[in-house]
């Protein structure tokens, strides 16, 4: 009976399968839903949704399936007015409700309704005046104003669950991104390298046994320093302008990187378009430090990850500035600043969200000669990480293992 609902969910990107169907069937058999649509809504939500990012899609699917109303927009048409005519003949209303309904003069109600429709500009949820859902206005759906007109929607018994589903309060948790955060986290995990550093306070069982055996059975305890993450990363991101379409994707990468626990040090900076002497601490381009300062503070073994579309007018690569980002005729060109960064860090990559087909021309091609460039996709991120860990950088970290 609820299988079509499952396909509706799958159509909306919730990967529900046989396991969920069986679980739901089991829960319904046990009577957890109390034979009530409200109960069914809560039970189904607990069993079919696995992440708060899917709650909104679930609510949408629930609305679409169990109400059959147009969820995209509430069309204010003649159809709504016909509700007025029908309202008095509704068989599912109790005698008291009909009596309440009768208190209002239909003609008066219709006049008010049309008047308010003209005033109203958009879909409305909640509140006590406009036509919409979940309110106490006499007009609308799923509301508390019983003596009014229900606009659109089905019977009264379903009201509460559908009202909840219609509220769309999980909209902010949606997560329809190309790069799944877990995929990103897994890709970044390859960046880790460990080193044994610090006080020897961890028991080395293998070594202790070997040493004890060498000692003819006299116990010899061997300790060693614990393994600690030893990867240091400098992450710099292009913000604003042409990067705006990718802002969500890139901020996701930033949050994954800052949540990763396997970096010994992570510095994040922002720049606009191209680096002009200064890397900023905030996306609003405030704070931060100059390239010479950064080069002085961090060693060559830090891994530099630049994120940006590398797309700009050719002259923008040639703007001359001093280290504080001020225009100066005798300053260095933007491209030179980039080269300085690329030369200082032994391992560096540029992650580009632009499709790879566009990389062969313009400023992208120029920057791709300075930094090894990878696509900001799961695959590209994996390749970039492999590039970062390969080669000379490994020498320092792995030799001491």
């Amino acid at each position: 009976m609820f299988l079509p609902f499952f396909y509706e969910l799958r159509r909306r990107g919730l990967k529900v399968g046989a396991q969920e169907a069986l679980a739901l069937a089991g829960a319904l058999r046990a009577g957890l839903h109390d034979s009530h649509l409200d109960g069914f809504y809560h039970v189904a939500r607990a069993l079919l949704v696995h992440s708060e990012t899917q709650l909104d899609a679930f609510d949408q699917a629930f609305l679409a399936h169990f109400q059959g109303v147009e969820t995209a927009s509430l069309e204010l048409t003649q159809e709504l007015l016909s509700w007025l005519e029908e309202a008095r003949e509704r068989p599912d209303l109790s005698p008291e409700e009909v009596a309440l309904l009768e208190q209002l003069d239909p003609e008066e109600l219709r006049r008010l309704f049309e008047e308010r429709l003209r005033e109203q500009k958009e879909r409305h949820d909640g509140g006590n005046r406009w036509v919409g859902t979940g309110g106490t206005s006499p007009f609308g759906n799923n509301g508390f104003g019983r003596e009014g007109i229900r606009v659109g929607g089905a019977g009264g018994k379903q009201g509460r669950a559908l009202m909840q589903a219609g509220a769309r309060k999980y909209l902010g948790y949606r997560d329809d991104l190309i790069l799944d955060t877990r995929q990103m986290a897994v890709a970044l995990r390859k960046l880790r390298a460990f080193a044994r550093d610090g006080a020897p306070d961890e028991l080395d069982v293998e070594e202790s046994i070997a040493a004890t055996a060498r000692n003819a059975g006299e116990l010899e305890v061997v300790t060693r320093p614990p393994r600690r993450p030893n990867t240091r990363v400098v992450l710099a991101m292009d913000v604003g302008g042409s990067m705006d379409p990718y802002a969500a994707l890139v901020s996701r990468l930033f949050s994954v990187a800052s949540q990763a626990t396997h970096f010994k040090e992570l510095r994040t900076y922002y720049f606009h378009n191209c680096v002009y002497g200064k890397l900023y601490a905030t996306p609003q381009l405030t704070g931060g430090l100059t390239v010479p300062e950064l080069v002085a503070q961090v060693g060559r073994h830090h891994k530099l990850v630049m994120v940006g579309d590398a797309s700009m007018a050719p002259y923008e690569l040639g703007i001359r500035t001093d280290a504080n980002g001020h225009y100066k005729a005798d300053g260095q060109e933007g491209l030179t600043w980039l080269m300085q960064l690329a030369q200082h860090f032994e391992r560096n990559v540029w992650l580009n969200p632009e499709p790879m087909g566009t990389w062969r021309s313009g400023s992208i091609a120029v920057i791709a000669r300075v930094f090894p460039m990878f696509a900001l996709t799961v695959e590209g991120l994996g390749e970039a990480v492999t590039h970062l860990t390969r080669g000379r950088t490994v020498r320092g970290a792995a030799a001491r293992r």
Binding site: A27, L32, D180, V186
Partner: protein, 282 residues
């Protein structure tokens, strides 16, 4: 697969107020005997839920606080090699009996308990990415084998497993599929009023209303890095009560703001937003 409906239904406790969707999720988990995964903002009572379930059902609560270094194996059992090595050296006890040196972890303890227990796996996202995957089989079958002795530990009564996550890491799909999921919404003003009532019975009405108003206004401030949550509101009201504050208004001299805001930048932002000397935005 005829399952008798579980006679016990979770309805919350005197001190833990629930929403019906949370009750439905808990009852699903109880009936289907699946782990319950609870997510939500910090301070919305994820951990307290396990205590409330244990209290409501009259079961013992076993907690396992997961840390960044926790491995799945730690939850099952720990083989104390060092103790055995020492005992063999100094001749204390019988070192031939390896079972003496197997110490059960929280999961092992829950499985081998003679009665049904509530097992709380707190902040599962703190651990390594692979941690949830390593527990899949054990949580599914509720049994594991001790490699050193070949003994099998199997649950006599499947424990009620409650898992909390602060969303620091994404959990793997295979793990999510096996869980009943619930996302604890941030309480609206009405529920919050009831929660405050439960924790501070007999609180001055006016003070409670003022505190709630200030609280929601602070939460609506988008510049805050960490928004105050339920538990912080409860703490704050405790302090206000203890200090005999009767009248508060939202300005830069809000009393005991430190109980609500935990980051220095946030204190600065609030002072800027509500203070008289309004600084222009940088």
């Amino acid at each position: 697969m005829s399952q008798a409906p579980t006679p016990v239904r979770f309805k919350g406790t005197d001190t833990y107020l629930t929403h019906e969707s949370l009750q439905a999720a808990v009852n699903c988990a109880l009936t289907l005997q699946r782990p319950l995964l609870v997510k939500g903002e910090p301070g919305t009572g994820k951990t307290l839920l396990a205590e409330a379930i244990a209290e409501a059902l009259g079961h013992r609560l076993i907690t396992w606080h997961v840390k960044s270094t926790t491995r799945a194996q730690d939850g099952l059992y720990v083989y104390d090699t060092v103790q055995r090595l020492y005992d063999s050296r100094f001749g204390d006890g019988d070192v031939r009996d390896i079972r003496k040196y197997i110490r059960q972890g929280p999961l092992g303890e829950a499985f081998s308990s003679p009665e049904r227990v509530v097992l709380l796996i707190d902040e599962v996202d703190k651990a390594d990415l692979e941690f949830p995957n390593d527990l899949l089989h054990e949580l599914d079958r509720m049994r594991f084998r001790v490699t050193e002795t070949g003994d099998e530990v199997a649950a006599k009564h499947r424990p009620v497993v409650v898992i909390t996550s602060n969303n620091e890491k994404e959990l793997p799909d295979a793990f999510l599929r096996r869980c009943v999921f619930h996302f604890i919404d941030f309480p609206d003003a009405d529920l919050m009023r009831r929660i405050v009532d439960v924790h501070h019975p007999g609180l001055d009405r006016a003070l409670a209303e003022q505190a709630l108003k200030v609280f929601y206004e602070l939460r609506s401030l988008s510049r805050l890095r960490k928004k105050p949550s339920t538990s912080e509101l409860i703490d704050w009201i405790s302090v206000l009560k203890a200090q005999g504050v009767h009248d508060i208004k939202l300005d830069e001299q809000l009393p005991f703001l430190g109980a609500l805001l935990k980051k220095e930048q946030d204190l600065v932002s609030v002072a800027e937003a509500f203070g008289r000397g309004r600084r222009p935005r940088a």
